[in-house]
């Protein structure tokens, strides 16, 4: 049962353009969402998070948007850089219950120079 879904296994983007990574969730109890970036043979690195009381959170080139009614969130990276090439994981948790994040399968982003 995939509670957190990243339906695009890969995404290819030109340097300087916007990268949009999508994530859907099924559990309506999820109220805290995170994005992680992972390089091969390294651990996931926390990027940005958003609480369900917000619909947008921004940190530099990274912005996360949350649409609670659609149970959908997205990560925007603008402008994309070759160093952004990595696997991006969406994760979600229920702060009032099991706060432990559940991860999606990841989307591999390739940014071409």
């Amino acid at each position: 049962d995939q509670q957190v879904k990243q339906n695009s296994p890969s995404l290819s983007v030109q340097e300087g353009r916007i990268s949009i990574l999508n994530c859907d969730y099924t559990n309506s109890m999820f109220d805290y969402f995170l994005w992680y970036k992972k390089y091969p043979a390294e651990g996931p690195t926390f990027l940005i998070s958003i609480s369900s009381i917000k619909d947008k959170n921004e940190d530099g080139r990274f912005t996360v948007f949350l649409n609670k009614s659609a149970k959908h969130l997205s990560l925007h990276i603008v402008p994309s850089q070759p160093g952004d090439s990595a696997v991006y994981f969406c994760a979600a948790s229920d702060s009032g219950g099991s706060y432990i994040p559940t991860f999606g399968r990841g989307t591999s982003l390739i940014v071409h120079p």
Binding site: Y32, L34, Y36, A41, E42, G43, P44, T45, F46, S49, F89, S93, S95, S98, Y99, I100, P101, T102, F103, G104, R105, G106
Partner: protein
């Protein structure tokens, strides 16, 4: 910047052998976790640990797995009798009391069972 450290980075072991993976969580964190990622698959939760006891575990975390915090800094995952399907990258993670659901991962320990 504080980080989670893990040892060994890579271990090859024979099927049936015991393996201990070690982790030093971020020093002021109180919640500790193990996740794993089998090659090509998603990051899967194994177990969480708080106040010297398991707070939650997944169905993957069966009797062959155990965790321990033997002293004030280390957090270990023991696999009693390894199977081929235990081959994976094992990630230790920790989180603080303020934002316990923002977890920070170590670099991982790659376990190969042959």
């Amino acid at each position: 910047e504080p980080e989670v450290t893990q040892t060994p980075s890579h271990q090859v072991t024979q099927m049936g052998q015991e393996v201990i993976l070690r982790c030093v969580p971020i020093s002021n964190h109180l919640y500790f976790y193990w996740y794993r990622q089998i090659l090509g698959q998603k990051v899967e939760f194994l177990v969480s640990f708080y106040n010297n006891e398991i707070s939650e575990k997944s169905e993957i975390f069966d009797d062959q797995f155990s965790v321990e915090r033997p002293d004030g800094s280390n957090f270990t995952l023991k696999i009693r009798s390894t199977k081929l399907e235990d081959s994976a990258m094992y990630f230790c993670a920790s989180s603080g009391t303020g934002m316990r659901n923002t977890i920070y991962f170590g670099e991982g320990s790659w376990l190969t069972v042959v």
